[in-house]
Symmetry: D3
């Protein structure tokens, strides 16, 4: 097995099923996306990763939609195809409109541009920012 293998619900162990159930309950969906099926090859990683995400993405000082858009912004910056597809869908589900996506993308693009201008011109941090 050189490539990926997905663990489907029906073939999963009780331990993995319990996590799959929690994912579906938390997200109010009736299916599991491939990311979790791939992680399920290693139940310990599945458990740790899901529990971290569940804690991090829960409502808090930031609204869930804002968190999801930040997640998407990072995925776009890293150019992770799977992550862009899945987190665009997740943000849509949480209420991201076309106009919000367009603005998010504009900010992400601009930030990636000015990050290089700042580094390339070797700009020193202003005392006011320290």
């Amino acid at each position: 097995m050189a490539g990926p293998r997905l663990i489907e619900y029906k073939e999963a162990s009780a331990e993995v099923r319990a996590i799959f159930d929690d994912i579906m309950a938390t997200r109010q969906t009736d299916w599991i996306n491939n990311f979790w099926k791939a992680l399920a090859r290693d139940p310990l990683s599945l458990k740790r990763t899901w529990e971290s995400i569940k804690q991090i993405m829960a409502p808090g000082a930031l609204a869930p939609l804002v968190k999801e858009m930040i997640y998407l912004a990072v995925s776009v910056t890293n150019q992770c195809g799977y992550c862009i597809a899945s987190h665009t869908a997740a943000a849509r589900k949480k209420g991201m409109t076309d106009a919000m996506l367009a603005e998010l993308m504009a900010v992400v693009g601009m930030a990636n541009e000015t990050n290089r201008l700042a580094a390339g011109y070797q700009v020193e941090v202003d005392d006011q920012f320290k």
Copy 2:
């Protein structure tokens, strides 16, 4: 001149001063940070970059604070020291609390982690996300 050189307001051309003035007026500050002073070496780049940022960061479908936090999330992902310092300060000024920063950082960290898990396990995009 192998390194950076900053254009200070008092030595700037009228064209550059006009942009510096607009930056200060738009941001309601009385000083110009080093990024713009470095870009001012090339007035055309200064003008284009400022006008793009002014347009992109204006209130729209997303609130200015949300845009600023997305900008910061990208800068952290790219590990741009100058940009992290300046956009953390900008987000603070727009109302980012300690709790919001902590949640932003947690999301950015997690997204950078799962971006690699998705790519590393060669996970295929679910039909539901297409």
Copy 3:
């Protein structure tokens, strides 16, 4: 020709064939993967790249499997699809088990996360690390 073109063994020059032969002999395989066929468009690059890799990946202070896993960790971090597929296969061939892959992926994911936390919180290097 805007895209890639692969040089097959049977159409290759004597110079390229000699390198292809060395690759197969060193790796104890009877086929050449696409990466080398693409590089063969420029025999000088093919030669330099192969000789560097041959030298670097040979047994030394680090075991070949450890080197291969480091190669994979970098490829996952850079999210290079081709490289992830080829170096996962190569590491498998050298003895990487499912458990080892799962641990490697967990470390890579965690490192990508904490790299951003360290940068994002602008953490200064401890004197003890200097």
Copy 4:
């Protein structure tokens, strides 16, 4: 507070102290490095991050030194200054010699090079790797 702030042991809450104690006990050291002091601003992130790292870096299918070197390889690829300094020190402590570091760096450099050659030449994944 636009920049970082470190939570020192003596000013930490009982909850944070307990984690600091566990870090020192697990790593057999008598001091806490700045990364953890910065994370301690958000006790929940501190706890989650430490527990994840503790689990991931424990001996398993891969030896602790191998894991530490993979961590370092990722940090070098991402060019995270703090992380390179801290994980070089950690790997040294676990037994990484000068020769091992030199080989690790050579592999990391080469992987970063060939990742771009594979992507740049738009090389398709061989059927044998699927």
Copy 5:
């Protein structure tokens, strides 16, 4: 709509058509590539991005082919599949030969390698470079 949607010329607004017309006239082509059709979902982003690129890629102190090769070098470094395909084609059209592409790729690969060696060995900037 979770994924992309392309705006074709015949369904475009007058505002978008005017930009499409300018892109074709400037580039002396009779078709629009998918990148612009995707951006056209947000006419403001389309306009701003096209005007910036038009200004930046025009002949100046650097020849258009040199600019196009720098664009390609960045795209290869970021491993952006779409961008590598489109900018390789654009550079070909402007005169990039097989030999030039091979040399560009060699430089990009080497730079990505030595960037990590410099960072990994924590090399300090020489006074002569400041």
Copy 6:
């Protein structure tokens, strides 16, 4: 020794001195910059890296200044501080003017922006580019 250590000419072995001499002769300088002094800790890496760079950066289908600017563009994209400083200096020495640097930086910034827009909008490669 957790951090860097530089090998100075006077303490170098005959093997390392020969390479240092070749670097200075090829570049027509009378000093060695820190990058090479750091690599000299591992003479084999020093030799391999120098010979590769010497071959790659020699005049060919691309002029040395163009190659140097491509090297700089990659270093800016990767935000490698040392590399930006050293390759800006090298490009200056080969004739890069202020205007050329400004145009290079504008292209690098724009490419980093549009790379994310193309990935973020999940744009498919046009048939014409294949």
